[in-house]
């Protein structure tokens, strides 16, 4: 396994990279739905205490020029944003309880043609 998947001080989070360092919201959403409550909780527990430190590390760098290890670290944080409501608010339910069919919600920012994983590459694509 490559030893520089994540910045040196965050190597201990490398086991989470494969599943959760995902570039688009659509991928993060799909992975969250495909997880069990226990899997979501384990990922959440690994990240939640590190949030302030990770952000301090990333904020020292320009957002649009993050080196690959830092970019993966940011993707992990975005997955934390995706997963957190399910752990903190929905009692571990991997879906939003009492909701519309999520699969029928089309996210334009995640599904636009030419979408390269960067939500901000297509800043002006409202429906």
């Amino acid at each position: 396994m490559s030893s520089d998947l994540l910045p040196a001080s965050y190597r201990h989070l490398e086991p989470w990279v494969d599943r959760w360092a995902l570039a688009s919201q659509a991928e993060r959403e799909t992975t969250r739905r495909a997880s069990t409550g226990a899997q979501l909780k384990a990922f959440y527990d690994a990240l939640v205490g590190e949030g302030d430190g990770i952000v301090a590390h990333l904020n020292a760098l320009p957002l649009d020029q993050l080196p690959a290890p830092e970019q993966r670290l940011l993707y992990l944080m975005l997955s934390l944003a995706e997963v957190a409501p399910h752990v903190e608010l929905y009692r571990g339910d991997p879906r939003v309880p009492f909701s519309f069919e999520e699969e029928r919600f089309i996210a334009e920012h995640g599904a636009a043609p030419g979408f390269n994983g960067d939500l901000y590459a297509l800043p002006n694509r409202p429906a």
Binding site: L66, Y90, F105
Partner: protein, 396 residues
């Protein structure tokens, strides 16, 4: 300061009455036909944002089933945005087939026989022009225009190319009171859409009151929001109100707290509200959540400190609606702001999944005919006003 004191809207707006509202307007195909002809084809409708057409030659196709048409919005060489029906002047073929793009050589060419139009919609080239007859006059055969006007970067169109009322006069005070908000700076866009198997008013109603918050949003917003509306104002067919947080809310969860520390990007965050026009949250209460403004008939604008979001409900038929929910943020300056936006945005998306959960079931259940009316309470005043405004157009 805390939020304003709740009002009794029925006393303030006696013209709305207090009777139950007949559900026929949600189910009748005949009523829908009249909505289409007498309302949607006779009012200004929001179609897009100016940022969608960044430069001269940029165009976007906006399907508008309620007009039985698709509208080409295009920015001309003079910078002006124009709108045209996507219908060729020769034998009526579609001129444009893609969703968006850039006018090739600043022209549009029909694939059928090659008739070509410039960015102003003028017909500039007809192959074998000499074979046509005296009855054909090239300058009279540009693309058919619709009226297009822009308010605060929102592009509206009117089916009548020479509408009797300008957009500014149509929106009136409902629009002027929302002016000055930095809409144009909020170019980080998250847009969702889905087709809902329900009448457009059922969908729109669910975003027009706060009564449902404690039940529907028990998951995503378990506490914190007041279930009442504040500062309700009616402007002709348009209306506005404000949503506030309760004086005492829950302690934010760890990730919500982190997100709130890093940016002003969640509707559940309290704080000083500074970037708002003076008429919105006039007391600058830290409990202000967002403004709920309805530009009649089908466009909702919600402004708050740090972001805004919109809803639009496009009727497809009496029992089908295309819904679009869009969140607009300033581009994040660093990873912390990026994270904060993602959290606020995801929670809002989840709340919208909760909002849309009951709509199809409501429509299907009402079709049974078991209930002839719905009983609206005082805090559902915006719905009452909406049904009355629709009715006035439909019966005009």
């Amino acid at each position: 300061m805390n939020k304003p004191v709740a009002s009794r809207w029925a006393q303030q707006f006696p013209q709305l009455g207090t009777d139950p509202v007949p559900v026929d307007a949600l189910l009748s195909a005949e009523y829908f036909q009249r909505e289409k002809e007498k309302l949607f084809k006779r009012t200004w409708l929001k179609l897009a944002r100016v940022e969608e057409l960044p430069q001269s030659g940029s165009w976007k196709l906006k399907p508008l089933p309620i007009w039985d048409s698709s509208i080409i919005l295009v920015r001309g060489e003079d910078g002006q945005i124009r709108g045209f029906h996507n219908t060729c002047s020769h034998r009526g073929n579609r001129v444009i087939w893609a969703e968006d793009g850039h006018g090739k050589d600043r022209r549009f060419s029909c694939h059928f026989h090659g008739w070509t139009y410039n960015l102003k919609g003028e017909l500039v080239h007809v192959p074998q022009e000499e074979e046509f007859f005296d009855s054909f006059c090239k300058p009279d055969n540009g693309l058919a225009p619709v009226a297009v006007e822009v308010w605060e970067g929102f592009i509206f169109a009117h089916l009548d190319p020479q509408p009797a009322v300008s957009l500014k006069d149509y929106l009136g005070e409902a629009a002027t009171r929302l002016e000055g908000f930095p809409y144009g700076q909020m170019t980080a866009v998250y847009a969702y859409r889905t087709v809902l198997n329900c009448n457009w008013k059922i969908a729109q109603d669910a975003f027009s009151e706060a009564y449902h918050v404690t039940t529907i949003h028990a998951g995503s917003f378990p506490e914190g929001f007041s279930a009442k509306l504040y500062e309700v104002q009616l402007f002709g067919p348009h209306r506005t109100s404000a949503v506030y947080m309760d004086d005492k809310g829950p302690t934010p969860t760890p990730v919500a707290a982190l997100s709130h520390r890093l940016g002003t990007t969640s509707i559940a965050k309290r704080g000083t509200r500074v970037a708002l026009p003076p008429g919105v949250n006039p007391t600058r209460s830290p409990n202000f959540a967002f403004e709920l403004s309805v530009m009649f008939p089908n466009f909702l604008v919600h402004i708050m400190d740090g972001l805004y979001f919109t809803h639009q409900f496009h009727p497809l038929s009496v029992d089908q609606t295309l819904w679009e929910g869009i969140q607009y943020f300033p581009p994040p300056q660093n990873a912390g702001e990026r994270f904060s936006q993602e959290y606020g945005q995801v929670l809002q998306r989840n709340a919208w999944l909760e909002d849309t959960a009951t709509m199809e079931a409501t429509h299907a259940a009402l079709k049974s005919g078991a209930k002839k009316v719905m009983h609206l309470q005082d805090q559902e005043v915006l719905l009452r006003h909406h049904y009355q405004a629709v009715d006035e157009y439909v019966n005009s």
